[in-house]
């Protein structure tokens, strides 16, 4: 098993700084969705991780904790994530994305 980043929607959707989306070295790994936060009653949208692309560097954790001071991202073993976004289940829309969350272990095929 290996570590991947996981974003706390409640914290992220109340701040929505989007810094992590600009600092991840991997393309299309930290995505942003307008609806995944507001659908749950939060003020803004939220960032989320496409876990099949995450290499586990934790650079986003430093950015969220130190630069943004939001402490919304933690590293978690991928098999401990109940639900997560993977690339195949991410849909692009006009200026946003939407992900259908699923069990990453089943989708990735481990």
């Amino acid at each position: 098993m290996y570590l991947v980043a996981n974003i706390d929607v409640e914290i992220c959707a109340s701040k929505s700084c989007k810094l992590c989306t600009q600092y991840c070295p991997e393309a299309n790994t930290i995505q942003y969705s307008e609806t995944m936060g507001t659908d749950k009653g939060f003020k803004y949208g939220t960032a989320y991780i496409a876990v099949d692309r995450c290499k586990g560097c934790a650079l986003c954790v430093w950015v969220c904790d130190t630069m943004a001071k939001n402490n919304a991202i933690k590293m978690i073993m991928i098999d401990q994530l109940p639900l997560a976004a993977v690339t195949d289940n991410i849909r692009y829309e006009e200026k946003t994305t939407v992900a259908v969350l699923s069990n990453p272990m089943i989708v990735i095929g481990n």
């Binding site: 989306t21 600009q22 600092y23 070295p25 299309n28 942003y32 960032a47 195949d88 692009y92 946003t96």
Partner: protein, 300 residues
Amino acid sequence: MSLDYVKFSGGFEKFMPKEYRDMVEHGPFGKKISVSQMGSFKEILEEHPMCAGCAMTLFIRLAIIAFPNPEDTITVGTAGCGRLAISQAAIPFVYGNYGDQNGVASGLSRGLRLRFGDKPKDVVVMAGDGGTADIGFQQVLHSWFRKERFTTIMLDNEVYGNTGGQESGMTNRGAVLKMAPLGKKFEKMDMLQMAKVAGCAYVATVVPNNPRRVESVIKKAVLIAREVGSTYIQAYTSCNIEYAIPTDKVMEDAKTVENDRYQFTEYVSDEAKQYLTERYGYKDYLPKAAAPAAAIPTKA
């Protein structure tokens, strides 16, 4: 070299992988995209085998997003870590022999101008410090002296990271590396000064811990290279493997190095300032309004 190459071939749409379909339907081609929109559109860069937490990867990701016309851009590279990512982008990439990237880009740039006339086709060289300042040094410098109209970006990780940690011309004096155990005996090469002496119209240093600045610098360099002359960007992109930087501290290191020896600098020639102002509406280089003269006290 146009929006035509990011379309589906007739009848093949349903067979294309999701990443390709996303690129055609939601990619940045033909649109105005900025780093503030990252995470909400399909990026040109795809998955690649570069190390986790690599600052060079982040810089390449930002640079590709900053290209003013990605559908009319060709990248040129050479051996080194960077080409592992640059080659995984949905824009044409030319992989030169080691060190000849600026020679290849010179011919390519001239050929594109002959073929397409005034329609801008951008050529961007992205190579490491070894490819630019050591092995490719002669061709780099001569392309600048000839005022070839393309952009050269040095991905400066201050080491030969791909081959086990040998010192390069851009390594700092005294740096001890796996394959330089006694420490480097010479100073880091001053490529910025050489670029100015050789006549580059735009020279800048940048560190990827400021994505908006990276975007701004890349855009200016590519636009100036269309008509004015050679442009050069030197980017600090640490090698967290050879310099043993924990991956979650890569941006902390970038910030420290930026404050220490890699402060943002930008040189823009007068001709380039005029070009950016008149052609693309940049307001930064307009003459500053004269400050009101201080009131001269008069004797009562």
